[in-house]
């Protein structure tokens, strides 16, 4: 059942979009346009430097079951061009080639929502190897209810433009709605494998022999019938069958065996792959977290003597707790953890000249080495990597934010009152944001290892002439 494979559930839904337009504060806007506008302002996960700094997080990051998901607005079937015809056939059927052919159309526009999620009904539960149809439906409904609980306002804003959504009042209603919109996923793709799964191979040789036997008998019977033999060649060694009689049992036997072999292979193919070790979302996030911490650790410990390495590794295990999937770990929706402290861009500071906020921030940075001490002030704070630079002023006020590793990820952790970062709006901020804590404890200073992302070498030597030249063209991304 392709909706379920390797412990994951592959949900594909098509929700019909209401036809026509509706009056709104921005004029008469069609429902399709309205959905597009809503989706355009829905934050993505923080997977690019700009979005990571922007601070907004996808509402799907509040879910601890969603690996990947996407919305696509499908206006209509794409016209692939006129079907080429055979001119001789057209003549016979009376098809006039100068008349336009049919153009396929969907009955309305659709909003596709597809998601790859853990096939579980509870966050963090182990992934199942097999699920019955009812259990799969239960997983889907549980996921729909989970989404409704975590992001009801966003779902309403999007789906209110879809037909039939008016009747959805609660989580169960949304689950029923998604069930109605569901389309079977015919090709799931899953690649969390660290080592290849242990699969039962199809017994190819016995299968081929089983299929070949009646087919061979059929072929011999036909041969015997063609040459008018009295007894079927070769098979006469086994029994005294004239070709006609041999045909009468060989033919249905061949059909039966072929069908049985086909059914066997297809049923085998339809069996879901077993779930890989640790491939549910908490496991994947923990793996990403450990991968980053362990890379830092291994590099730092190069050349250490065995006793020191042993002790350091003990501390590593105690601090990062590899067996504990809940904490410490990386939250959903980011590509690095902790997010990189943003290095200042000195060219911009020189170019745009000092501004009052920046001057104050620079003074603060120069004077106070520990940003955590100044948690209560209203001033924007700077991350540790910036503090040793006297020109550490950030060029634009609205980009300053506080980024720090939380002690426990997850949507339920909240930042303290004194968190200082300007917000774009009251909504999604995500689970992070506490006053920056130094990473010094993780990384004893090395000879030539400046803290992450400090890039003193990109500062050009000598005086910096003001540039003022922007690339004229928009570079392709």
């Amino acid at each position: 059942m392709p909706n379920f494979d390797a412990g994951s559930y592959f949900l594909t839904t098509f929700a019909p979009i209401k036809a026509g337009a509706a009056e709104g504060p921005d004029g008469c806007v069609s429902h399709i346009q309205r959905i597009r506008l809503t989706l355009a302002t829905l934050p993505t996960a923080q997977q690019t430097p700009a979005t990571a700094r922007g601070g907004q997080q996808s509402p799907f990051a509040r879910s601890m079951r969603t690996h990947l998901c996407r919305f696509v607005v499908i206006d209509d079937a794409v016209f692939n061009g006129r079907a080429s015809g055979n001119p001789i056939l057209a003549r016979i059927t009376g098809d006039d080639p100068i008349q336009p052919g049919p153009v396929d159309q969907l009955n309305c526009a659709y909003l596709m929502f597809a998601a790859e999620v853990d096939a579980v009904t509870e966050d963090g539960a182990p992934l199942p190897a097999t699920l019955t149809r009812e259990q799969q439906d239960a997983v889907r409904d549980a996921y729909a209810r989970d989404l409704w609980a975590k992001m009801e306002p966003e779902l309403r804003a999007i789906y209110e433009n879809c037909t039939g959504f008016d009747r959805v009042q609660d989580a169960d209603g949304f689950a029923r709605y998604l069930a109605r919109c569901q389309v079977e996923t015919t090709m799931p793709f899953h690649d969390y494998w660290i080592s290849p799964p242990a699969l039962k191979p199809i017994p190819l040789r016995p299968l081929l022999l089983a299929v070949a036997a009646p087919l061979l008998a059929l072929a011999l019977a036909v041969l015997g019938w063609l040459i008018g033999a009295e007894r079927t060649p070769v098979l006469s060694l086994l029994g005294d069958w004239p070709p006609g009689q041999a045909l009468s049992w060989a033919a249905p036997a061949s059909v039966l065996v072929l069908w049985a072999a086909y059914a066997f292979v297809m049923r085998r193919g339809a069996q879901p792959l077993p779930p890989p070790e640790g491939a549910n979302l908490p496991g994947v996030l923990k793996a990403l977290y450990l991968q980053q911490r362990y890379a830092d650790f291994a590099i730092d410990q190069q050349g250490a003597d065995p006793a020191a390495l042993h002790a350091a590794f003990g501390r590593f295990l105690a601090e990062h707790r590899p067996d504990d999937l809940t904490a410490p770990s990386q939250p959903p929706g980011v590509t690095r953890w902790p997010p990189p402290a943003r290095a200042p861009v000195p060219e911009m500071a020189a170019r745009s000249g000092p501004q009052p906020e920046m001057a104050m921030a620079a003074a603060m940075a120069a004077s106070d080495p520990d940003p955590a001490a100044d948690v209560q002030t209203d001033q924007p704070q700077t991350a540790p990597a910036m503090l040793t630079r006297s020109s550490g002023a950030r060029p634009r006020e609205e980009r300053r934010r506080v980024e720090a590793p939380p002690e426990s990820p997850g949507p339920e952790s909240r930042a303290p009152e004194s968190r200082v970062s300007e917000s774009r709006g009251p909504e999604s901020r995500g689970p992070e944001s506490r006053p920056a804590e130094s990473r010094a404890s993780d990384n004893p200073p090395q000879d030539n290892r400046p803290p992450d992302n400090r890039s003193p070498d990109t500062r050009p030597p000598g005086g910096r002439p003001p540039s003022g030249r922007r690339p004229r063209r928009k570079p392709e991304s």
Partner: protein, 544 residues
């Protein structure tokens, strides 16, 4: 069978490198055309002096090379300024029309973690001529001219013909150009120079004379392993030089398809590379990326001196050997040019040097000239024990490493014997250029390499290698790590050196790499054939 190329129609710098041994000094000029007609007059006059790819004549048993060469290329807006028809201009590829500055994000010249607004001023370190290279400004770079000159024997002084030709050029712009054609100044930090100088590093021979050395400013032999395409060399010459410099498709080393570098000929995918109309205009032309690459020699020295201490402790090598080993692992060759694929560690290198008698200058020179320095492959070292997967050489020419049928763990002389260069053969560039600047500088002084890459498709060849193989590491199982030599190290600063199980020490990871090489400007140019030059000069490019 050798394809028949009209060598007299092709510009000489495409077919020949004007190598540092014959032409160790170069000047690169950049012109601006203020008026189409004046520009065309200048182009017509220049055409007669352009050095072609025709074989140099034999005189008295020696090949008579020109004392100074001349070659020309045009930027997209240079062709626009010369009045080419719209349809022809439309036929040029997008990246060429954009120009190198607008592609800075793709190439990694501009910080890829900053938006365009945030990165304003990113080209602050570029030379003034490149900072001011704005398509519609009076300082737009429209044409590139190169003069490669021989030197007086035993010295590093160019022959007087170089100055003569420079004066001739100035006079031409003044007279035929009528003041509308200008040589743009703006090279170097102060922006005063009228041209960019390229000059090989010179070494003093035992008899006191100077000779060009193969090295660049990091102390490594450069200019090895340039690819060879069909029709480029005489058949006998090609056979001798081909190993390691062509493609491996199961029939031994073969030259690359001509269309990989010259427009109008079939390329490796058996198509004609996209080119502007009319065919007569684009045939035998090529595209070139010109980049001035500054080398932070002090950062290079200091970083590896510091890192060598820990590397020496981990590997048990003496510190001097550890330092040169680290640098070699980054580059992919030992400083003398011996590839790591042939000698994976310091002792192996020393043994090979003794075996080949590379201390003898004549033998060393012969080794560099021969195919021995290029004839190796990577499929016999998939884990990267000799040449690390992420080292510079392996990134810019993957050879047979990416053959999807390779056994990933295979290592040894007989490993993956049938590996082909199928996935590399469309990613080659012809490297041209010379070092510039004085030796014994530091990060702030002017030194580096004037680098030129010639290919039929900047996007598919030069930009691909720059974006996917230099500024990214997925194909080498190195994640986001960039090329340890050329890559941008503002954010991704690691380089892993794998170690064989019997090496006696674990793998080593360098962290905190600095930016060793930084671009100081550049542009994309079209190198027209001689026919096209005439068409441009006469204003008769007709795309209908």
């Amino acid at each position: 069978m050798q394809p028949r190329l009209d060598l007299a129609d092709i510009q000489g710098n495409v077919v020949r490198a004007y190598g540092r041994y014959s032409f160790p000094v170069a000047r690169y000029f950049f012109l601006h055309f203020g008026q189409a007609e004046a520009g065309r007059r200048v182009v017509m006059a220049l055409r007669n002096r352009v050095t072609t790819a025709a074989r140099w004549p034999q005189e008295h048993g020696r090949i008579a090379k020109p004392r100074v060469t001349l070659n020309i290329g045009f930027s997209f807006f240079g062709l626009y300024a010369l009045g080419l028809p719209t349809r022809t201009l439309q036929g040029f590829p997008t990246e060429f029309a954009d120009g190198m500055k607008a592609r800075a994000f793709i190439l990694g010249d501009r910080d890829q973690t900053l938006t365009e607004d945030e990165a304003a001023g990113w080209d602050g370190a570029w030379d003034p001529i490149w900072r001011q290279n704005d398509p519609f400004a009076p300082t737009a770079v429209h044409a590139w001219l190169s003069m490669n000159a021989q030197v007086a024997p035993g010295t590093d002084q160019p022959v007087p013909e170089l100055d003569e030709q420079t004066d001739w050029l100035r006079a031409l712009c003044r007279d035929a150009g009528g003041g509308f054609v200008r040589i743009l100044p703006g090279h170097g930090r102060d922006g005063a120079a009228e041209w960019q100088t390229g000059k090989a590093l010179f070494a003093r021979l035992p008899d006191g004379t100077l000779a060009p050395s193969p090295n660049e400013h990091f102390g490594f032999a450069d200019g090895l392993g340039d690819p060879i395409f069909a029709g480029q060399l005489e058949p006998a010459d090609e056979r001798a030089r081909l190993p390691g410099r062509g493609k491996l498709m199961g029939k031994g080393w073969q030259p690359l398809a001509t269309g990989e570098f010259l427009l109008g000929h079939a390329d490796e995918s058996q198509e004609l590379p996209p080119a502007p109309q009319p065919w007569a205009f684009s045939r035998n032309g090529a595209f070139m990326a010109y980049r001035k690459l500054h080398q932070n020699v002090a950062s290079w020295r200091d970083y590896f001196a510091a890192e060598a201490r820990r590397f020496a402790a981990v590997t048990g090598l003496p510190e001097a050997a550890a330092e040169v080993t680290l640098k070699a692992k980054v580059v992919g060759r030992w400083p003398d040019g011996v590839p790591l694929a042939r000698a994976g560690d310091f002792d192996g290198w020393m043994r090979l040097r003794a075996e080949l008698e590379l201390d003898d200058p004549a033998k060393y020179y012969a080794y560099l000239k021969s195919s021995a320095s290029s004839d190796f492959r990577y499929a016999d070292d998939m884990p990267g024990y000799n040449a690390p997967n992420s080292c510079h050489l392996r990134r810019v020419n993957t050879r047979d490493y990416l053959d999807p049928l390779n056994d990933p763990g295979a290592h040894g002389p007989n490993a993956n014997p049938d590996a082909t260069t199928q996935l590399q053969k469309r990613r080659h560039i012809l490297r041209r250029g010379l070092p510039y600047g004085t030796e014994d500088g530091d990060d702030d002084s002017e030194q580096g390499v004037v680098f030129m890459a010639i290919c039929a498709s900047l996007f598919r060849q030069f930009e691909f290698v720059q974006q996917q193989w230099i500024q990214y590491g997925l194909d080498f199982n190195a994640g986001n790590n960039t090329c340890p030599l050329l890559g941008d190290h503002s954010h991704h600063r690691r380089f892993a050196i794998p170690a064989a199980p019997d090496a006696g020490h674990p793998p080593y990871v360098c962290d905190g790499l600095r930016n060793f090489v930084q671009p100081r400007g550049g542009e994309y140019f079209f190198l027209p054939s001689l026919t096209a030059l005439k068409m441009i000069g006469m204003g008769i490019v007709d795309p209908t």
